[in-house]
Symmetry: C2
Subunit: 329 residues, 2 copies
DNA sequence: TTTTAGCACCTAACTATTGACAGTGCTAAA
DNA sequence: TTTAGCACTGTCAATAGTTAGGTGCTAAAA
């Protein structure tokens, strides 16, 4: 158990380090704690024993360890009031009624990325709550079609279909009508099931070249469900942080950002704001990932901010909460 | 005018430097030129006077200057045969019939980016050759619609429409039918003209709340034409080059890549493969941009590769030419 | 028992200094 | 015209010295 004073010292060190990214020496805390540097050094020593502080070298000032940040986040940090400026910028997005939910989220995260100078990520997932509202097929030429699916939440996805053989327009239209009749109202992740168990058994009764057509549509539609969107903004921001002042480290992070599989590992399962400091996250040991799943009115996905471990935790949490709380259509 | 031997020396230096990014000393060329290092030094001295070679410091070996690369590209370089491996990888994309032209280009450039380790950019522009094939509007709720435009070339774009007022579904449908009747076959960049001069004058005859509806659709559709796509692949590749072994330079380039306005400056007006070495391009003085406009079957845009100034010019030109020549639907 | 002053000690970061190395330009001879 | 020889130059890496900002420990003070 930490004493009051130890907590106070930890708090001061974490907050100072978040501001300046420079190790904090004992002398600089004398004023605020009204005691000598020797006393503070003794306390720092204890905090280092508890693995809450670290030194960069044997005679350097202290910086928070991962556990130190964790303790700060769990026990010391106070929720922060949003500054008027921050609210103002977010409000204009959040209250813009002509945007669909997914755009509100994407644009809000862009703003937050600018406000905080961290990197924002939005992982969108077509929720199973999205029901097919309409399927439209537009012929391009004799062998190519464009299939468009619109969901009840306003999602639009399209896919090119290549018909491997000669099929008349009338046959295609019959197929589309059949699919439309059976598929409207289906959750987007069950489209291929409906195709297989409802469309397939009866398509041969109505359509001549049913095999070619069924296969073409099945291939196209089976991929709708897996479509996940990844939107990033401010990728450069985190690279500007002084802790990444190294060509190879920057390259490493840029590579990870470019690797969509790596970015998708950010995906979050738990509700609420979750914080993964350094090795706690599965993206990069030198960053903190703070993220939240959202399920808003049928939209589902993850919003995340990636910053240095010395992130402005209180501010970021408040900003993310503002979004989660205020985007409800 | 350069002598045969001077050209030979320039050629060797450029090609060697492209391979290894290390300054070339006079001694290393003795074998290939069958003369002493002193002779070569004298020639190098001439080439430096002509501003074709540079030294990194007073007693270093030589590297090509921008003019040196330019001379090499214009006068020395020989077109390169495509290696079997390169062709193989590109063929599978180029010959994939189920892809629309824009996807073939995007995917080919991805491959080229991997093959060369440079950064590939595809700037797509909805060409005025794209004609509206179909306009579809799907209602989401009482105030939101999704409008979808499909062109005859298979482009799909969608836009959310927010109706600022209470309008019945029947009125909306009347509007859409009217628009559809008048707009099909219109070049995509003239949609707003058609709306203004053909739809606006008569919409009041058919639709009750014509002002609200006209404005909503006009706002949505006027933005279709400006939609330009920017696709990049292998952004990290160029950062891996040894000449960018500096945190700040990497940050600068990443920032430029993230700035879409900056990337759009890559856009090319001229036909054919064009090469902009260092300060010749308007993106970054330390890179070479090699690019070409393409107009293929109604698709229009720019493909570009960004690499270090010591780019494998011959190989890149051949690769880009392969794409331009082989993608014709 | 807690706090403090004082001191020995530590490391990073900066500044020279040095020698080896790889290259140059110039000159005089081939 | 070419070449060998030589003086010269900048980079790089290793080494040493200095300073600044910090520490831990101890013995005395509160």
């Amino acid at each position: 158990m930490l004493t009051k004073r130890q907590e106070e010292i930890l708090k001061l060190i974490v907050e100072e380090y978040i501001k300046n990214a420079k190790p904090i020496g004992s002398k600089s805390l004398c004023d605020q704690l009204k005691c000598s540097s020797a006393t503070i050094r003794a306390e720092m020593n204890m905090l280092e024993k508890y693995d809450l502080l670290e030194k960069t070298h044997i005679s350097s000032g202290r910086i928070p360890s991962e556990r130190g940040y964790r303790y700060y986040v769990d026990n010391i940090m106070q929720p922060k009031e949003l500054s008027g400026e921050d609210v103002l910028k977010l409000q204009t997005i959040v209250q813009n009624k002509s945007l669909v939910v997914s755009d509100v989220i994407a644009q809000s995260m862009e703003i937050i990325s600018e406000l905080t100078n961290y990197t924002a990520i939005v992982l969108g997932k077509s929720s199973s709550d999205n029901l097919i509202n309409k399927v439209e097929v537009v012929p391009i030429d004799s062998q190519k079609l464009v299939a468009i699916i619109v969901t009840d939440k306003g999602h639009v996805e399209h896919k090119n279909i290549f018909i491997d053989g000669l099929v008349s327009g009338a046959e295609i239209k019959k197929t589309v009508d059949l699919i439309n009749k059976l598929i409207v109202g289906t959750p987007i992740d069950q489209v291929s099931t409906v195709l297989e168990f409802q469309v397939k058994p009866i398509i041969s009764n109505y359509v001549e070249q049913h095999e070619i057509l069924y296969n073409a549509f099945y291939n196209a539609f089976s991929e709708f469900t897996t479509a996940e969107s990844v939107k990033m903004s401010g990728t450069k921001n985190i690279l500007m942080q002084p802790e990444f002042n190294d060509a190879d480290k920057i390259r490493e992070i840029v590579s990870k950002f470019e690797d969509k599989d790596m970015v998708k590992r950010i995906e979050e399962d738990n509700q609420g704001i979750n914080i993964y400091i350094g090795s706690e996250n599965n993206f990069d040991d030198d960053v903190t990932v703070i993220k939240s799943k959202y399920v808003i009115n049928g939209e589902e996905g993850t919003i995340a901010l990636i910053g240095p471990k010395r992130m402005e935790y209180d501010r970021v949490i408040t900003l993310l909460n503002y979004i989660i709380d205020n985007i409800k259509t």
